[in-house]
C-alpha cells in the first residue's frame, strides 16, 4: 500500500516517491504510524466520552436514589430506567462497562496506543514502526473490540454486570444476573480481540525500540517517554496473554460445560454438577494481568510527563538514570504483587504476607520518581503551558493516590477497607486521574506534532482547572465514605439507614458532593472536546518546534510525510535533556547538535 515499511529498514537517503493516496489508504487502512496513533486517539476519546457518560448516569442514582430523572430516561429509556429510576441490574452494568472502557479502551488503548505509535518512531529517528501492517492490524483489532463492547450495551439482557473484573461464578452463570448472558459473552469476545490487538501492538513497539534507533541513539540517550513505552510494551506482552487464558477458560466454563472456576453451585434453583474448579484460580489469572495493567496505564503517563516537565521547566529531568531504574523496578515488581488484590479471598494468609512485602517495595521507586519530578521543578524556569499544568497535576494525583496505596497494600489494614469506597478513591486518583492527566498533557504537548496546528491555550487552562478541581472534588470525599466501611458497587446506601442513621446521613451528603463535582468535571471536558476538534480543523498553524524541545520529533517537518524525515535520518549526539546547559547560548540543545569542543555529555 505505502512505501513505508520497506523504507523503514534501509537507512537510504533517496527521496520518497510520493504516490497519490486514496482516502481509504490514507485515513482508514493506513500503515503510517502517525495516522494510526491518531486513529487510536480519536477512538479512545470517543470511548472515553461514553464511559464518562455512563459514570454520570450511575452517579445520579447514587446521589439521589430512587428519584426520577429525565436524564436517565433520555439515555436509558423505559427498559433500563422505568419512570426515570435506574434499574438495579443496569446500575451494575453501567459500573462494569464504565470500568472496562476506562481501564482498557481509554487508558490502555488510548494512552499507550496513541503515544507509543506517534512518539516511538519520531523520538527514535525511525521512518516508521518495524511493521506497518501489524501496526494497522493492532488498531483494527482495537476498533473491532471497541465496537463489540459498545454493542453489548444494547443487548436485551443487558451488558456484563459482574464488575470490570468479571469474577466467576457471577460472570459464568446467566441465572445469577441477567448481564451474564449474551452481554458477558460479548464482553469476553471483545476483550479477547482487544488483547490480540494489544499484543501485536506491543510486540511491534518492542521490536522498533530495539532495532530501529537512529545512529547515536543509544538506550541511555532515549527520552524517558520511550523507556516508559518500552517497559509498558514488555509488561503487556508478558501479562495480557494470561488474561486471555483467563478469559478463554471462562468462555469454556460458559459455553463448553467445563469446571475451571465452578464447584458445588446451586443457582436459580438448579443444582449444577460442576465440581473441583476454583473461582480463586480466575482471580489469580486475572490479577496477574490486572496488576501490571495498572502500570501499563501509568508508566506511559509518567513517561510523557517526564518529557513535558523537563521541557517546560527548561531543566534536565533530575536523575535520568534513576528514572530509568525506577521504571524498570516498577515494571519488575508489578509482576509479583498481584496477590494484594486477594488478601481476603481465602488465599493462604502466608502468601498474603509475601505480597504485602513486594507491594510495599513498589513505594520506593515511586517515591524516587516523585522526588525527582519535584527536584526538576526546583530552580527551574517554568513555562506553565496547559500540558505542563496537567503534568504537574499528574504528579500531585500520583502522590495523593499513591500514599493511600500504602494502607491498602498492608493486608492487616486492607481487611478494614477492602472493597470499600476507599479503594475506589485510591485507584481512581492514582491510576485513573494520573493516567488521564498524563494523556491530556500528552495531547496538549504533541498536538502540534499530530495535527500541525495549535490548540487554544486559554481553553486549555480552563479545561485544566475544571478537571483538577473536579477530580479532587469527586475522589477526595470518597475516602471518607470508604473509611465508614461503605462497600463499593452498592446501588443504594439506604440500607445504612436501618442500622446507623448518622453514617447514612454522611454517606448521602458526600454522595451528593461527589456527584455534583462529577457533573462539573464532565461538563468541563466539553471545553476540551471543543478545543480538540475545533483546533484539528481551524487551529493556527504550528511552528516546527513550538516548545523549544530537544527531542527528535521536533526536527521533522510540520507537514506529515511518509518516512518522517525528508532526506537522511537525523544523527543523535547527546541525551535529550540538555536544557539551560551552562555555556550554551540557547536554553535548549537538540539531540542532533554535536557536542561542542570540550563539552561533556551530562
Amino acid at each position: 500500500m505505502a512505501s513505508v515499511s520497506h523504507e523503514a529498514h534501509g537507512h537510504t537517503d533517496h527521496g520518497h516517491d510520493h504516490h497519490e493516496e486514496s482516502f481509504v489508504s490514507k485515513y482508514i487502512f493506513s500503515h503510517d504510524h502517525k495516522m494510526i496513533g491518531k486513529q487510536f486517539l480519536i477512538t479512545a476519546v470517543f470511548m472515553g466520552i461514553i464511559a464518562m457518560l455512563l459514570s454520570i448516569l450511575f452517579r445520579i442514582q447514587l446521589a439521589w436514589p430512587g428519584e426520577s430523572s429525565d436524564f436517565l430516561t433520555l439515555f436509558l429509556g423505559e427498559t433500563w430506567a422505568p419512570g426515570g429510576v435506574l434499574k438495579e441490574d443496569m446500575y451494575l452494568g453501567l459500573v462494569t462497562i464504565h470500568g472496562t472502557i476506562m481501564v482498557f479502551f481509554l487508558l490502555t488503548g488510548g494512552l499507550s496506543g496513541t503515544f507509543s505509535n506517534i512518539l516511538i518512531p519520531l523520538q527514535l529517528g525511525a521512518r516508521d514502526m518495524a511493521s506497518g501492517f501489524l501496526n494497522m492490524l493492532s488498531f483494527w483489532f482495537f476498533f473491532i473490540s471497541s465496537i463489540i463492547m459498545l454493542v453489548s450495551l444494547f443487548v436485551e439482557s443487558g451488558p456484563a454486570m459482574a464488575g470490570w473484573t468479571v469474577y466467576p461464578p457471577l460472570s459464568a452463570l446467566p441465572q445469577a444476573v441477567s448481564g451474564s448472558g449474551l452481554g458477558m459473552t460479548l464482553w469476553l469476545f471483545s476483550m479477547a480481540i482487544f488483547i490480540a490487538g494489544s499484543l501485536i501492538g506491543s510486540l511491534n513497539y518492542i521490536v522498533t525500540v530495539l532495532n530501529l534507533r537512529t545512529t547515536g541513539m543509544t538506550m541511555t540517550r532515549m527520552p524517558l517517554t520511550i523507556w516508559a513505552f518500552f517497559v509498558t510494551a514488555i509488561l503487556g506482552v508478558l501479562s495480557f496473554p494470561v488474561l486471555l487464558s483467563a478469559a478463554l477458560l471462562l468462555i469454556m466454563d460458559r459455553l463448553a460445560g467445563t469446571s475451571f472456576y465452578l464447584s458445588d453451585i446451586i443457582v436459580g434453583g438448579e443444582m449444577l454438577t460442576n465440581h473441583g474448579g476454583s473461582p480463586i484460580l480466575y482471580q489469580h489469572l486475572f490479577w496477574f494481568l490486572g496488576h501490571p495493567e495498572v502500570y501499563i496505564v501509568l508508566l506511559p503517563a509518567l513517561g510523557l510527563s517526564s518529557e513535558i516537565i523537563a521541557t517546560n521547566a527548561r531543566k534536565p529531568i533530575f536523575g535520568y538514570r534513576a528514572m530509568i531504574g525506577s521504571i524498570l523496578a516498577i515494571g519488575f515488581l508489578s509482576f509479583i504483587v498481584w496477590g494484594h488484590h486477594m488478601f481476603i479471598t481465602g488465599m493462604n494468609p502466608f502468601l498474603g504476607s509475601v505480597f504485602v512485602f513486594t507491594t510495599l517495595l513498589i513505594a520506593i521507586p515511586s517515591a524516587v520518581k516523585v522526588f525527582n519530578y519535584i527536584t526538576t521543578l526546583w530552580k527551574g524556569s517554568l513555562i506553565l503551558t496547559p500540558a505542563m499544568l496537567f503534568a504537574i497535576g499528574l504528579v500531585s494525583t500520583f502522590i495523593t493516590g499513591g500514599v493511600t496505596g500504602i494502607i491498602l497494600a498492608d493486608s492487616a489494614l486492607d481487611i478494614a477497607v477492602h472493597d470499600t469506597y476507599f479503594v475506589v478513591a485510591h485507584f481512581h486518583i492514582v491510576m485513573g486521574m494520573s493516567a488521564v492527566f498524563g494523556m491530556f498533557a500528552g495531547v496538549y504537548h504533541w498536538f502540534p506534532k499530530m495535527y500541525g496546528r495549535m490548540m487554544n491555550t486559554r481553553l486549555g487552562y480552563v479545561h485544566f482547572w475544571i478537571t483538577i478541581i473536579g477530580a479532587y472534588g469527586v475522589f477526595f470525599p470518597m475516602h471518607f465514605v470508604g473509611l465508614a466501611g461503605a462497600p463499593r458497587r452498592y446501588y443504594d446506601y439506604s440500607v445504612y439507614d436501618q442500622f446507623d442513621s448518622n453514617t447514612f446521613a454522611m454517606i448521602m451528603d458526600l454522595n451528593v458532593i461527589v456527584t455534583v463535582f462529577a457533573i462539573f468535571a464532565a461538563l468541563g471536558q466539553g471545553v476540551f472536546l471543543f478545543n480538540f476538534f475545533y483546533s484539528i480543523f481551524r487551529g493556527p498553524k504550528a511552528p516546527q518546534n513550538p516548545w523549544k524541545s530537544n527531542t527528535l520529533e521536533w526536527t521533522t517537518p510540520v507537514e506529515h510525510i511518509h518516512g518522517n524525515w525528508p532526506g537522511e535520518l537525523p544523527t543523535v549526539h547527546r541525551w535529550p535533556y540538555d536544557y539551560s546547559k551552562p555555556g550554551a547560548e540557547e536554553d535548549y540543545i537538540p539531540q542532533t547538535v554535536p557536542l561542542a569542543e570540550g563539552e561533556e555529555e551530562h
Partner: protein, 414 residues
C-alpha cells in the same frame, strides 16, 4: 419530555457559548500577534498563583472533610483485633498524611515560585547521588517499619483461633445470610451441596438427609421419575427447547443421584451427631461479649463477602470452598448505642462482593450481648436445633413427596 428538551437545549447552548468564547480568543490572539505556544508572562504568573491557591483550597477541603466526617462512619472498633487495626491504621495515616502534605506542598509551591522570570535561567542540575540516596533510603526505612508492624498484626489476625472459640458458620446466597451455631458439642455438622432440599437448606450431612435427598431427587415433583415420565408421555407436545432443557436436567440429576448413592455408601454415622445439635439462625446474629468466635464461611451460588465494618473484619465466601475468620467482640450493642448516641444503632454484616442485582440489600443484623443475656438467648434456642426443626418440618410435609427442589423462591429481586 419537556425536561429532555431542556437538557438538549442546554447542551446546544453550551456548545454555542464555547464557540463564541473561542472566536473571541481567536480574534484577540490575532490582535496580539502571539502564537498559542508563546505563553505570556501574565498567563504564566496567573497560573503559578492559581497553583498556589489551589493547594491552599485542597488542604482546606481536606481538613474540612477530616473534621466533619473523619470519624463519623468508623466509630470505635468493636473487637479486640479491630482495636489493633485502628491503632495501626491511625499510625499509617499519620505517616501518609505527612507525606501528602510535604510532597504536595513542595510540588505546588515550586510550581508557583519558579515560574519563568525575565533574565533568570534555570539551574542545570541533572543529578545528585547524595539526594537520590536519601529519598531511596528514607522511604525504605519507613516502609520497613510499616511492613514489620503490618505483618505482625496480619499473623495475629489470621492465626488459628483458640481451642474454646465458639464456632459459627455463615452461609451466603443471593441475597441473604444464614448463621449456624455449632451447638452443644461446638462442632459444626458436615455438609455437601448435593444434599440441599427445602427441609435442609444448608445441606447438612446426616444419614436421614442423605436418604431424603435421594428420595427427593428420584421421586420429587421435578425428580428423575417425573422427568422420565414427562419426556416419554406422548400425549404432551413439548417445544424442542423445553425438551432439550429437560433432557439436560435429567442427565444432570442422574449423575447427581449416582454421587448421592456413593455418599450414602461411604457415610459414617458418627458425623450425624455433629449436625443434629447445630442451631440455624436467620436475620440476626447474636454474639457474646468477650468470647472468641471462629467463623466459617460458605457460598451457595456466587462469591459473596462477609464484611463486618464495626469489627474491622472481612472475608470472602467462595462456592466450593470454606473460608474462615476470627474475632472477639468487646463492646456490647447497648454500650455502642450509648457511645454513638443513637438508640437505633446496630452492628451489621454486609455483603461486600458484587453478587447480583440486590447485592446492596444483602445484610444481617448483629447483636452483641453480655454473657448472661447471651446464655438466656441460647437457652431459648435449646428446642430449635437442626434435629428439632428438621423432623418437625418433615412431619408437617406430606410423606411421599418430601419437598420441592430448593430455592423456588429465589431471585425475588429480579
Amino acid at each position: 419530555m419537556e425536561s429532555k428538551l431542556i437538557i438538549l437545549i442546554v447542551i446546544v447552548l453550551g456548545a454555542i457559548a464555547v464557540a463564541q468564547l473561542v472566536r473571541i480568543y481567536e480574534l484577540s490572539s490575532k490582535l496580539r500577534k502571539r502564537g498559542e505556544h508563546e505563553i505570556s508572562t501574565r498567563d504564566n504568573n496567573l497560573n503559578g498563583k492559581m497553583m498556589y491557591a489551589f493547594m491552599v483550597l485542597l488542604y482546606a477541603f481536606f481538613i474540612w472533610l477530616m473534621v466533619e466526617y473523619g470519624w463519623t462512619g468508623r466509630g470505635d472498633a468493636a473487637s479486640t483485633i479491630g482495636k489493633e487495626t485502628d491503632w495501626l491504621l491511625n499510625l499509617n495515616f499519620v505517616i501518609i498524611i505527612a507525606v501528602f502534605f510535604l510532597t504536595n506542598t513542595l510540588l505546588f509551591y515550586f510550581s508557583y515560585k519558579y515560574v519563568r522570570k525575565e533574565g533568570v535561567k534555570a539551574f542545570y542540575f541533572p543529578h545528585n547521588n547524595k539526594l537520590e540516596m536519601i529519598w531511596t533510603v528514607v522511604p525504605a526505612c519507613v516502609l520497613a517499619v510499616i511492613i514489620i508492624l503490618g505483618l505482625k498484626k496480619w499473623n495475629d489476625a489470621t492465626g488459628a483461633s483458640g481451642e474454646d472459640a465458639i464456632r459459627i458458620e455463615l452461609f451466603s446466597k443471593q441475597f441473604d445470610w444464614t448463621a449456624r451455631y455449632a451447638g452443644d458439642n461446638n462442632l459444626l455438622g458436615r455438609f455437601d451441596y448435593k444434599l440441599t432440599t427445602d427441609l435442609n437448606e444448608l445441606a447438612l450431612l446426616t444419614s436421614e438427609t442423605i436418604d431424603s435427598a435421594i428420595v427427593n431427587m428420584q421421586t420429587g415433583p421435578t425428580g428423575i421419575d417425573a422427568l422420565v415420565k414427562k419426556l416419554n408421555d406422548r400425549t404432551i407436545m413439548l417445544i424442542p427447547e423445553d425438551r432439550e432443557k429437560m433432557e439436560e436436567d435429567l442427565s444432570r440429576k442422574t449423575r447427581l443421584i449416582r454421587l448421592l448413592h456413593q455418599m450414602k455408601k461411604h457415610h459414617t454415622k458418627k458425623y450425624d451427631a455433629y449436625a443434629w445439635d447445630d442451631i440455624i439462625q436467620k436475620d440476626t446474629l447474636y454474639l457474646c461479649l468477650n468470647k472468641e468466635y471462629e467463623f466459617n464461611f460458605r457460598a451457595k451460588d456466587v462469591i459473596h463477602s462477609a464484611h463486618f465494618p464495626h469489627f474491622r473484619a472481612q472475608m470472602n465466601t467462595v462456592p466450593g470452598m470454606t473460608t474462615r475468620l476470627k474475632f472477639t467482640p468487646d463492646i456490647t450493642t447497648k454500650e455502642m448505642r450509648k457511645r454513638k448516641n443513637d438508640e437505633k444503632f446496630n452492628y451489621v454484616l454486609l455483603c461486600n462482593k458484587i453478587c447480583g442485582g440486590a447485592h446492596y440489600k444483602m445484610k444481617m443484623m448483629i447483636v452483641v450481648l453480655e454473657e448472661g443475656e447471651y446464655k438466656s438467648w441460647m437457652k431459648s434456642k435449646e428446642k430449635a436445633t437442626f434435629r428439632d426443626t428438621y423432623f418437625a418440618a418433615a412431619a408437617a410435609a406430606p410423606a411421599d413427596t418430601t419437598a420441592v427442589p430448593a430455592d423456588t423462591t429465589m431471585m425475588v429481586a429480579n
